[in-house]
């Protein structure tokens, strides 16, 4: 029967078999819909991508805002070095010192007073 299966015969045989394999009756479909309906009604639809949920925010009083601002300023003063570096860049030319060996005594004081990274000592 299948000794010489040609391409189109094989195609028809596969398609026919798959087609005959399952039939959907109206009763089956109705039952499936009833089941699906009850399950879907208990289900929550997910939010679309890209819409983040509303963040929870507590209302702050004026005093709280003031304290927070003060803390932020203190933190900035103690921890933030960017302003210091920016100022030091422009200040560099002012503190380029020419020191002789005779001033070595005061060199220590200069070093402790100014940041060493920004002082160019030329040992003439």
């Amino acid at each position: 029967m299948l000794m010489d299966l040609r391409d189109n015969q094989l195609d028809e045989l596969i398609a026919y078999t798959l087609d005959m394999e399952s039939t959907v009756t109206p009763a089956q479909k109705r039952l499936a819909w009833e089941k699906l309906q009850s399950r879907a009604s208990q289900q929550v639809i997910l939010a679309p991508y890209g819409i983040a949920p509303e963040p929870c925010r507590r209302e702050r009083t004026g005093l709280q805002w003031g304290l927070l601002k003060l803390l932020a300023n203190i933190r900035s003063f103690l921890m933030d070095e960017t302003r210091f570096h920016r100022a030091a860049e422009t200040r560099e030319a002012l503190y380029t010192l020419k020191l002789n060996r005779t001033f070595m005594g005061s060199e220590q004081a200069m070093m402790s007073f100014f940041p060493t990274a920004y002082i160019h000592l030329s040992m003439a």
Binding site: L5, S22, A32, I45
Partner: protein
């Protein structure tokens, strides 16, 4: 399935589904239930599992209604979900699956050469069904989508997110596998040139 009527188009129904209108889900269910159920059944060969997969597929359609791109056709999305769910089920129940060798042994048993068996159309369908069942998952999915759902190779490639060449290759080897196995059962095996599996 292409629905031209704008009010009843898949996109419009999904829009309604986003507002949790279950009647829209009902219309989509009417439209696609048979295709999805039959696809799942052809892949898993289990009525109850196919029913569960179909239910899951439509529940996901409802749950992910906001995340479905309505500018694209819905059918490939449903097929993709069906195939993925079927794959998950099959991989979990792999031990229960009959191996290719076992099916060949079963088909080659002497009792199956009886003339009355060969003459029976139902018997023939059963052989083909068993042969399809013994295909690897990837080959079976391509066979089902191509022969049962009538998808072109390009559509299958889009559905499964694979290159067309891969789909073509899977279909070729699936057909050769089926030809070989059915030839083995009822006559001399027909081996294609270059076919080594």
């Amino acid at each position: 399935m292409i629905v031209n009527n704008l009010e009843n188009s898949d996109a419009a129904l999904i829009d309604r589904l986003r507002n949790n209108q279950l009647d829209a889900l009902g219309e989509l269910f009417d439209r696609y239930y048979a295709q999805i159920f039959r696809t799942a059944l052809a892949i898993t060969h289990d009525n109850q599992v196919a029913e569960d997969i179909t239910q899951d597929c439509f529940l996901r359609l409802h749950r992910y209604a906001y995340r479905i791109d309505t500018s694209l056709p819905l059918a490939p999305w449903l097929y993709r979900v069906t195939v993925n769910l079927s794959y998950t089920w099959i991989s979990r129940h792999k031990k229960r699956n009959v191996s290719l060798e076992a099916v060949v042994d079963y088909l080659m048993s002497p009792a199956r050469y009886a003339p009355d068996k060969m003459a029976e159309s139902a018997g023939l369908q059963q052989e083909v069904r068993e042969a399809i069942r013994a295909l690897s998952f990837n080959q079976r999915v391509v066979v089902v989508l191509h022969y049962l759902n009538g998808l072109s190779l390009e559509d299958i490639a889009e559905t499964l997110d694979c290159p067309v060449g891969t789909i073509k290759s899977r279909l070729y080897y699936a057909r050769e596998n089926l030809r070989y196995k059915l030839g083995n059962v009822y006559g001399e095996p027909q081996i294609a040139h270059g076919f080594t599996r």
